[in-house]
Symmetry: C2
Subunit: 588 residues, 2 copies
Amino acid sequence: MTRTPREGQSARTTVSLAALRRRVRVALGQEPGDCLLRGGQVVNVFTGHVQPADVVISDGWIAGVGMYEWTAHEMIDLQGRAVIPGLIDSHMHLESTLLTPAELARLIVPHGTTATISDSHEVGKVLGVPGIELLIEASESLPFDPFFVSSSCVPAASWEHAGAVLGPAEVRSLLAHPRVLGLAEMMDVPAILRGDAGALEKVRAALECGHAADGHAPAMSGRDLMAYISTGIRSDHESGAVEEARAKAEWGMLVQVREGSIARNLDALMPLLVARELGDDWTLVTDDILPVDLRERGHLDALLRRVVAAGVPPAVAVRHASLTPARHYGLTDRGAVAPGYRADLVVMDDLRDFRSHLVVKNGQVVAREGRFVADLATRPIPCVNTIHLAPLDESAFRLRLSSASCPVIRIQPGVLVTRSEKRHVSRVELQWSWEAAQDVLLIASIERHKAMGCVGLGLVAGFGLQRPGALGSSVAHDSHNLIITGTNPTDMLACARALAECGGGFVVVSEGEVRARLPLPLAGLLSLESTETVCRQLGEVEKAARALGCTVPCPFGVLSFLALSVIPELRIADQGLWDVVAQQFVSL
Amino acid sequence: MTRTPREGQSARTTVSLAALRRRVRVALGQEPGDCLLRGGQVVNVFTGHVQPADVVISDGWIAGVGMYEWTAHEMIDLQGRAVIPGLIDSHMHLESTLLTPAELARLIVPHGTTATISDSHEVGKVLGVPGIELLIEASESLPFDPFFVSSSCVPAASWEHAGAVLGPAEVRSLLAHPRVLGLAEMMDVPAILRGDAGALEKVRAALECGHAADGHAPAMSGRDLMAYISTGIRSDHESGAVEEARAKAEWGMLVQVREGSIARNLDALMPLLVARELGDDWTLVTDDILPVDLRERGHLDALLRRVVAAGVPPAVAVRHASLTPARHYGLTDRGAVAPGYRADLVVMDDLRDFRSHLVVKNGQVVAREGRFVADLATRPIPCVNTIHLAPLDESAFRLRLSSASCPVIRIQPGVLVTRSEKRHVSRVELQWSWEAAQDVLLIASIERHKAMGCVGLGLVAGFGLQRPGALGSSVAHDSHNLIITGTNPTDMLACARALAECGGGFVVVSEGEVRARLPLPLAGLLSLESTETVCRQLGEVEKAARALGCTVPCPFGVLSFLALSVIPELRIADQGLWDVVAQQFVSL
């Protein structure tokens, strides 16, 4: 991959002497700028004021903001609209959008997002460093700045087979990239607390570079939280309650208030934001968000709308989605509509609805009235089938139960935490047998990276299926083995075969037939299609799931987290049912 | 010079795996820490609260803060005293203290200063990069962290002869040092505003490294200020009035509220701090401070006392002297008493008087009850005489005046700005002649770097001398030529010779005899003696000046700024009298 950053895509400021000199002349009114945004109301994130001011842009940077006489080659009359800095989502996983970075640009740039900080650990778990480098390369020269953090937990757990291992050396090699801003969420809290050398070396690597180290500390508090923070980890996006967020902010953690497709904490934390209790150290992130939510609800603009509606002053809310994350991650070139800052800005119709009128990236208009208007020079992304299965037959999906009373994974609406529930289920000849009324399905995790033949089986409650069938996915946090839930071995086997055939994706099978599919050929995680196609296909698989009786709103999202063995209480891995609390396999 | 940073003296966090692992165990109470500070009231700079908490330290870092069961090899009972982070002076010139870095440590560490950011441009102007490297080397392994910024304006002005030139290449070479945090105050505002390549290249060099670029924008406002800020310069310590500071903070500049020995802006800016109008972006600095003021008044502790007395909540005031400058300069390892931060902290008797009970640097007690208790492994500093004069005689100090009415430099109490005043003065055979009642003295700037023979002459009003004599100094901002003021050529010549003899310093001569001297053999700027000796000698030269009738409180300080040709209105250079406003020499 190329190691020379494109102008605007490095955390460091690279600008030519000629451009810097011209910027001074433009500011002084000695020569015309490239673009003059006239008659706007500029949100000043330093003072918290909103003030009438023109903005003059020179070579992609803001030369001046105020009421001076400026000229420019292009004049845009803002008619009193609000001008805010480009928005920064400082914690997301590109892979959750199912889209290539270029397609993501089309989707989020019109909502005012001009930078993201992604942990591409999903691709990392399948393809390792080359996979992450592939994504970094695929996100060059886009009309937003996709930054990355070096994935800390690949594989996420030793009790699952993944496609790759990122040790401290791999983490260091990624940290050297100019668009890699730090260490990604350190999810392996137990490793940190027991002083595991590998986990601590990764934190050290980031701190030695002067970079941020991101945390992941769900429900942590007290002395454990303190020990975790003591290593230098300084952010967290897992707070689900006011007390939890307050405890993290108390010791200087950046509270990344998360509102994704599945995990949603904004309402719970809103009282803290309204009461201004977190000081300067909070921001808004999406973590894992589906393309359909981005398309229908929006991105950070939608969160700003809610935060402002709840009572946070607009300029404060905007600061926390721009300057605050920029400063935390050392992006000193952005985060404010002010002289000497990169001309990444959004013209909003107002500061209540946050409907974007114009989005400007490096001084260029890249979206207008919510439509993407930038040129996209997309390159073909090299893509190989990563679904490698050992020979499978229906017997792999027959679950023998030693007792009719057994532990079942109970999915919970709107949160990632599952419950471990003791249930009485039906058996036929000691094998589990589906009964619609019980709302219990078989769930399987099938190793798919090296055709090792591991298949873990368990039971899950809450999907609501009423007709025979199966749902399958190659997106299964964190190791992205195949995860398939269903009522019978025939449909589940057909599901596995369909997934292998399309290089991964989401598939719904019923009565042996594929009813709908969303192919994700890039690492079994990303589509190469447009947002429209992906959303349509996603609608089709969800509709097919509903046709089976499924009552869960985002069934493939929920399914993909049922293997997430770092969050309590019970999960499925390719080696069996995993009790997260007890940190051991459960026999059935 | 060595390029390997001592642990604790780099802007980056360097800590061993073993130490990091132990820190976690100490936090968890699984093994004893090195030191436990018990029963204190910890100032939390994140929340603004002051809360009862113990602090446990492990290998120089804070492992835990709170009310947990911890043990340690050393226990210190704080009896309810306040614990604050080590204080950071983010803009000072070491040379103004006249002391070596080791002597400065003895002086400021007991006041709670654990880091300084120095622009050593004075030594730079005499000795160039090797001189600055000499100071960086002389400040290794001290019980505080002396960081530096790469001097941007050496020489400060093209109309003066200096000893060295630091071009963009030299600035870049210094920026590569691990203890150099950015570009020092860009004083050459006109060069920036006219797009001078050399000045802009230096700003670029800092921004390309991801470093801060410091400003120096006295009395700037409006479009000029905006153009200056547009280059990426983001701090300023020259605000003397509320409106000026507000205008700078408006566009995100860090307002470094300066309170030095001569230039004092704290009272003027206090209303802004009390009204919390500057948001997060202000801090306290001393810029140029004499050792006697540090000894008698204190350092940042003295400023905190005043800020709190004026009504700023103590935790807010403390944050702005610790976390705020740390974050601005990328020192992510310090600035808070919190887990994962360097154990640089100060135990204060209370948060009103800020009298330090203990100072802890990297976990070691380095001062106790205001007394320095650390070991100082000082190395001899290599030192050559830098005073090189061309042959001089009394005729050099005879000023021919074309008119008896002529411009005179009028010194102003308490500010660096001078006035250009038209005065009627005495002449004898067309030469200026002293009359005590007029309070006008001859002032000379004598090139001393390369024995070029340049002597600039002018007149200065306000010293109040009543008896014949002369005061001379080799400290003369910014080029550090000899600056001598006096009543007659004989005493001024004797003064120049005495300065050459001792390698520079401060000298008072009367009736041809040296009455007192403070030798500054290191570059003509720094003493190699102890604070006590330097303060005694300073007292002696000031007393000798008073004996001549001098009424100015800090005569050598004032004298040293009379050549400072970047601040209005009228100054003396080795090539003549310089009108700063008109940017031209004035003929007499």
